[in-house]
């Protein structure tokens, strides 16, 4: 086992995957706390399907995948946040429309052009092998920007998440922070898709936050615990994936599920003893 793990780190692509994956997981879990608390969890899911559609388009046009996907997903994030806020179509229905619509367009594009090849399979289910050097550099840069912005605006993000009306009434530019949240979410979803796959990326956002909320009672502790949960599930998940040749995304989600159950049980036990 130890030798296997040592062997794992001797491959440069594994080291790259480890670094990028940890950074992206941490960012996703941070954004996830706000998205889950604001009842926006499904937006992550919707955006990932839009991301898949965009990647399929890029493949069809023979363009660099991320350069197409990033702007498209950012625009979709704006639209989704807007319709969730004020819309005659119910917010969740709007998300379902956009997300299944984009997925269908993506699948059509794929079947008309390249067909279901390995590339497409990787976009759907994720693979650590799929990341090019360029992807890696971009992912690291964007993750670090997300982390810095999150730390700088942590207090404001708390205020806007907890009580947007109050924040706005007392002169905080809530639109700005909404925009920030949607852009960052869009970026992280596109970057995380290579590793997790379009179908599973939103678990990176939702699981750590929900798991942390089983036992934590302050915003700060939820945030920190979510980050730790995301790191543990990523590392254990990717190691499992390497050792048993299972798909990366699914392996990480399985660890997430186990952690969730453990935290839930622990939460019940401490509640009983109070």
């Amino acid at each position: 086992m130890i030798t296997l793990i040592r062997e794992m780190f001797s491959y440069p692509f594994m080291v790259r995957a480890m670094i990028v994956g940890t950074l992206v997981s941490v960012c996703a879990s941070l954004l996830g706390v706000s998205l889950v608390l604001k009842r926006y969890s499904m937006i992550g899911d919707g955006l990932s399907h839009v991301g898949f559609g965009a990647l399929a388009l890029a493949v069809a046009l023979n363009m660099a995948p991320l350069k197409v996907a990033i702007p498209v997903v950012i625009v979709a994030a704006f639209i989704l946040l807007r319709v969730t806020e004020n819309s005659k179509i119910q917010g969740d229905a709007a998300i379902a429309l956009i997300s299944t619509g984009a997925l269908a367009v993506g699948v059509m594009l794929v079947s008309l052009t390249t067909g279901m090849n390995m590339d497409v399979y990787n976009y759907m289910f994720g693979s650590i092998l799929a990341m090019s050097r360029e992807d890696v550099v971009l992912s690291i840069m964007v993750s670090i920007i997300v982390l810095i912005l999150y730390v700088i605006f942590y207090e404001k993000i708390f205020a806007v998440t907890f009580d947007e009306t109050f924040a706005k009434a007392t002169g905080i530019n809530t639109n700005l922070y909404h925009m920030l949240l949607s852009i960052l979410t869009a970026l992280i979803i596109v970057l995380g898709m290579r590793m997790m796959g379009a179908l599973l990326i939103s678990s990176l956002i939702v699981f750590p936050a929900v798991t942390a909320m089983r036992i934590c009672h302050t915003f700060k502790s939820v945030t920190i615990t979510a980050v730790l949960v995301s790191i543990v599930s990523f590392i254990v998940g990717i190691t499992t994936s390497y050792l048993y040749a299972t798909p990366t995304g699914a392996s990480i989600v399985i660890v997430d599920i186990i952690l969730f159950i453990l935290f839930q049980l622990y939460g019940l036990i401490i509640k009983k003893n109070v």
Binding site: L37, T165, F166, A167, A169, G171, I172, H217, F219
Partner: protein, 239 residues
């Protein structure tokens, strides 16, 4: 110059008028209660005063001292807040954010202000407690402490005593009295309890679907508007 003056102000949602040609003014140190049945536009009016909703007609004039950084607001609670993981301290100090601009974190003064407001409202011992596990009365105090971090001059409260038991309600009203009398904070409170309103407030704005009343509590008691709504209640008082 008045703190806020409304001149024939109307509000509407998609062409449907909910508040029609309302005129009143709020002076420094006032204690105004806005009363009226559900759906008469009280929350809408408060949002208008806060600048969160644009009037569809008329004009709201605000004095120099009326800046977003000088407003405290206790909103009607949202469902999402009821299970939000946040400590009392985290919620209270977030009221200071309007003084921070783009700077990250909180200053020493902010922390002191949060602490002294928690002290003032008697919630210092709850500081590490989780907001969602508090009683309704305690939660309202937390939100009040937060809004005091945001202002020293004007507080707007939207049905702050909804869901509180009678004891907590009485305590809440005397706390507001103290802030108004002792600390000189201007109070604008939405309430659906007419009895408490005329007991504590200085002036009344009573909204109904067709018309409204605005004036002092005394004038309200003697107005036809007031008599209609108070009728039975005043008799209770005398007996």
């Amino acid at each position: 110059m008045s703190l806020i003056a409304c001149d024939k102000v109307s509000f509407s949602y998609e062409k449907q008028i909910v508040v029609n040609e309302l005129s009143f003014s709020i002076e420094k140190g006032d204690y105004l209660c806005i009363i009226g049945e559900n759906g008469t536009g009280k929350t809408t009016l408060v949002k208008g005063l806060l600048g969160l909703k644009k009037p569809s007609g008329g004009k709201i004039t605000v004095g120099d001292s009326f800046q977003p950084t000088e407003i405290g607001y206790v909103p009607q609670q949202t469902v999402a807040q009821k299970d939000f993981p946040a400590s009392v301290y985290e919620v209270v100090i977030s009221g200071c954010l309007n003084q921070r601009g783009m700077r990250p974190g909180y200053s020493k003064e902010n922390k002191e202000r949060a602490n002294s407001n928690m002290e003032l409202l008697g919630i210092s011992d709850l500081r590490k407690k989780c907001y969602r596990n508090l009683s309704g009365g305690q939660q309202q105090r937390v939100l009040l402490a937060r809004s005091l971090c945001a202002t020293t001059s004007l507080l707007l409260l939207d049905e702050p005593t909804t869901g509180l038991d009678p004891v907590a309600t009485t305590e809440f009203y005397s706390m507001i009295d103290r802030l108004n009398k002792k600390h000189g904070i201007t109070i604008v409170m939405v309430s659906h309890a007419i009895k408490e309103a005329i007991e504590h407030a200085g002036s009344i704005l009573h909204l109904s679907h067709s018309s409204y009343f605005y004036g002092t509590v005394e004038a309200y008691r003697h107005s036809t508007f007031g008599k209609r709504f108070l009728g039975g209640m005043e008799d209770d008082h005398i007996n």
